[in-house]
C-alpha cells in the first residue's frame, strides 16, 4: 500500500515542480533570462538526467551481467567524452552559435550554420524516424521493472506506463522541465548510491565481491561458449564475437554517439553563459560516475548473487532475458523499501529522457521539416504538426516496445542496449562530422555537410540491413534479397569479424572523409555568413553584441 503512496507523492512533487517552473517561465522576461538564475546544479542534473535513462540502468546494467565489468570503459567514455569533451569542445560553441543563428533545435542549428533548408529538413526527418527506436527501448526498460516489481504482465506495464508518459508529456511535462529533471536526477543519485552500498555489503565488501566475480570465470565460459567470454572480471578475448560487440557497439557506439545527440545538444543552447557550463562539468562528471558506474559494476556482480543463490549465472536466472536481470536482482536481493526507491529512480530516469526525446521528435517534424523545410518558413500549421508528430512518435514507440520484446525477448539479446547503440550510431554517422566541423572549423562547406550526412546515414543503414548480423538477420531484407542473413556472414579478415563490426566503425569514418573531402573540393562559405556564425565563438569573453535579425 505504501508503495502506491510513495509513487503518488513522487508524481505530485514532479507535477508541482513542473508547474512551478512553467509559471516561473511565464512571469520572467523569457525563458533564457530565467535560465540566467538557474543554478548550475540544475543545469548539470538536467543534462545528466536526460542523458541517463532506463536504457543505461536496466539495459546496460543487464549487458554488464552478460559481458562483464569491461563495460566500465563505457563509463570512462561517458564521463570523458560525453561530459568533459562535450562540454568543453561543443558546449559553449553550441550555445553561442545557437544564439547567433537564432536556432531553437539541433536541425535548425545545423541548417542555419550551413545555410541549408535541406539539412534542417532532412535532419528533422532522420530524428523523427529513428528517435522512436531509442524512446521505445527506454520505455521497455521502465515497463520491465514495473512488471517485475508489481507482478504485472509486461504488456499491461507497457501500456500503463506509456499512458502515464503520454499524459506527462502532453500536460506540459516539457515546460519547466529543468526543475523536474533536477529533482529526478537527485533521486537517481541517491538510489544508485544505495544500490552500490547494498550490493557490495551483501557480497562481503568491495575486494571480496570482485574476487568472487573473478572466481566465476569457468561458469562464464561455460554459459557463453565460443563467444570469447573469459569471465565477468576480464575483458573478452581480443577479436572474438563478444569483443566486437563490446568494443564496437557498446563502448564506441554509445561513447562517441553521445556527442551528436540532438536532445542533448539542445540543452547547451538553453544556458546563459560559459560559466554555467564550466560549473556543470563538475556535477555532470560525478553524476555519470555514480549512476552508470554503479549500475555496470552491480550488473556484473549480480552473477555472484545468483550463483550463490542457485548456482546459476544471471542470464540463466533471468531465463535468457538480458533486460530482466536488473529488475530480478532488485526484487530478489534488496530490501522491499529499496524496490520503491529504485522504482522512483527508474520512472525519473525514463521520464526525463522520454520528455526530451518526444520534444525532439515533435519539433523535428513540426518546426524543422514542416515549417522551415517544406513550407519555407511560413509557419502556419506547424504547431498542429508538432503535436501530431509527438502523438505519432508515442504510438510508434509503444508499438516498437511491444514488437521488439515479442520478437527478441528471451533470446539472450540485449534489446535495450542494442536499440540505444543503433540510434547513437546513426546520429554519430549522420550528424557528428557536420556538427563538429560546423562548430570547430570555418572550412566545412554546405556541400561537404550534405554529402557527409547522406553518406554517413546511407552507409550506417546499409550496414544495419545487410552486414551487421544481429540486425540484418532480424530485419529479414538481406535474406529476402540474397538468401542469407548477412552478406559477410562468417567472413573474417585477421582479427576483424565483419558481421560483428558495428555500423559506427564504418559509417562514421566514411562520413568524416566525405565531409572533409567534399568541403576541400568546394569553395568556402561567404565570409559574412561565417562572421555571423562565429561571432564571439571560442573567445573567453565576447563583446556581447548580437548580430541583427536574420532576413526571412
Amino acid at each position: 500500500m505504501w508503495t502506491y503512496t510513495v509513487v503518488v507523492l513522487y508524481l505530485f512533487i514532479t507535477a508541482w515542480l513542473g508547474w512551478r517552473g512553467y509559471r516561473g517561465t511565464r512571469t520572467a522576461l523569457d525563458y533564457l533570462v530565467a535560465g540566467r538564475g538557474v543554478h548550475p546544479y540544475i543545469m548539470a542534473m538536467s543534462y545528466g538526467a536526460t542523458f541517463i535513462s532506463t536504457s543505461a540502468i536496466i539495459g546496460f546494467g543487464g549487458a554488464a551481467a552478460v559481458f562483464g565489468m569491461g563495460l566500465l570503459w563505457l563509463v570512462f567514455a561517458n564521463i570523458f567524452v560525453g561530459i568533459f569533451l562535450a562540454f568543453i569542445l561543443f558546449g559553449d560553441r553550441t550555445r553561442r552559435m545557437g544564439y547567433n543563428l537564432e536556432a531553437h533545435t539541433f536541425p535548425e542549428l545545423m541548417g542555419n550554420r550551413f545555410d541549408s533548408r535541406f539539412i534542417q529538413g532532412f535532419s528533422g526527418v532522420v530524428i523523427f524516424l529513428f528517435m522512436p527506436l531509442y524512446t521505445s527501448v527506454v520505455i521497455i526498460g521502465a515497463a520491465k521493472f514495473i512488471a517485475t516489481s508489481f507482478g504485472l504482465d509486461y504488456q499491461v506495464a507497457l501500456f500503463g506506463f506509456s499512458t502515464l508518459i503520454a499524459v506527462y508529456v502532453i500536460m506540459g511535462g516539457l515546460k519547466g522541465v529543468m526543475y523536474t529533471d533536477a529533482f529526478q536526477g537527485s533521486i537517481m543519485l541517491v538510489g544508485m548510491l544505495f544500490l552500490l552500498f547494498f550490493t557490495y555489503r551483501m557480497l562481503g565488501g568491495v575486494t571480496a565481491s570482485h574476487r568472487a566475480l573473478a572466481d566465476l570465470a569457468p561458469l562464464a565460459r561455460e554459459v557463453f561458449p565460443g563467444t570469447g567470454q573469459q569471465g565477468w572480471a576480464s575483458f573478452p578475448l581480443f577479436g572474438s564475437r563478444f569483443w566486437w560487440v563490446m568494443v564496437s557497439t557498446l563502448i564506441m557506439g554509445v561513447g562517441i554517439g553521445v556527442l551528436a545527440q540532438p536532445q542533448l545538444a539542445v540543452r547547451f543552447m538553453t544556458v546563459r553563459s560559459r560559466r554555467e557550463l564550466n560549473r556543470a562539468i563538475l556535477i555532470g562528471g560525478i553524476f555519470i560516475l555514480v549512476v552508470v558506474g554503479v549500475v555496470y559494476v552491480v550488473g556484473a556482480l549480480t552473477n555472484v548473487y545468483f550463483f550463490r543463490q542457485a548456482g546459476r549465472a544471471s542470464i540463466q536466472a533471468a531465463a535468457g532475458d538480458v533486460d530482466e536481470i536488473i529488475p530480478l536482482f532488485i526484487s530478489q536481493a534488496l530490501p522491499g523499501w529499496f524496490g520503491v526507491l529504485f522504482l522512483l529512480t527508474l520512472i525519473s530516469a525514463a521520464m526525463s529522457t522520454i520528455s526530451s526525446q518526444f520534444h525532439a521528435v515533435g519539433t523535428s517534424i513540426g518546426r524543422d521539416f514542416f515549417e522551415k523545410s517544406l513550407r519555407r518558413g511560413r509557419g502556419a500549421g506547424s504547431i498542429a504538426v508538432t503535436r501530431l508528430g509527438i502523438l505519432a512518435g508515442i504510438v510508434f514507440s509503444v508499438f516498437l516496445g511491444y514488437w521488439l520484446e515479442r520478437r527478441f525477448g528471451g533470446t539472450g539479446t540485449a534489446i535495450i542496449a542494442r536499440g540505444t547503440a543503433i540510434f547513437f550510431g546513426i546520429c554519430a554517422a549522420a550528424f557528428l562530422p557536420m556538427y563538429a566541423g560546423g562548430l570547430l572549423t570555418r572550412r566545412i562547406t554546405r556541400s561537404g555537410a550534405i554529402a557527409g550526412m547522406l553518406s554517413g546515414l546511407g552507409s550506417a543503414l546499409f550496414w544495419l540491413l545487410f552486414m551487421h548480423l544481429k540486425e540484418s538477420s532480424a530485419l529479414l531484407l538481406c535474406r529476402e534479397l540474397f538468401g542469407r542473413d548477412s552478406l559477410v556472414e562468417g567472413v573474417r579478415t585477421g582479427f576483424i569479424v565483419w558481421d560483428q563490426v558495428d555500423p559506427i566503425c564504418v559509417a562514421l569514418p566514411l562520413s568524416l572523409l566525405v565531409t572533409v573531402g567534399v568541403s576541400l573540393a568546394t569553395s568556402p562559405p561567404p565570409a559574412a555568413h561565417l562572421a555571423r556564425c562565429f561571432a564571439g565563438v571560442g573567445r573567453k569573453r565576447s563583446p556581447g553584441r548580437r548580430p541583427g535579425p536574420e532576413p526571412s
Binding site: T25, L29, D30, Y31, L32, V33, R36, G68, M69, G70, L72, W73, V75, F76, I79, F80, I83, F84, I88, D92, E102, H104, L174, V206, T207, A208, S209, H210, A214, A233, S234, F235, R272, S273, R274, R275, L277, N278, R279, I281, L282, I283, G285, I286, I288, L289, G293, G362, T363, G366, R367, S382, I383, T386, K540, R541, S542, G544, R546, P549
Partner: protein, 60 residues
C-alpha cells in the same frame, strides 16, 4: 587492485574515477571563469527576440 586482477578491468575502473575527478578539478578551477551574463538582454532587439523565443517554446 580491489580484487580486480585483469589490467583491462582495473584500469577502466580507475580511469572512470579519474575522469570524474578531472571534471571536478576542472569545474573548481573554472568556477568563476566566463562572465555570468555574456549577452546584454536589455537591448530592445534582444528583448524582442527573447519574447519571440518564449512564444515559440510555448507553441512547441
Amino acid at each position: 587492485m580491489l580484487g580486480l586482477e585483469a589490467p583491462s578491468i582495473w584500469l577502466a575502473y580507475l580511469l572512470s574515477i579519474l575522469a570524474a575527478l578531472l571534471c571536478v578539478g576542472y569545474g573548481i578551477a573554472a568556477w568563476n571563469r566566463g562572465a555570468k551574463t555574456e549577452t546584454p538582454d536589455e537591448e530592445p532587439e534582444v528583448r524582442e527576440w527573447v519574447k519571440e523565443e518564449k512564444e515559440i517554446e510555448e507553441e512547441l
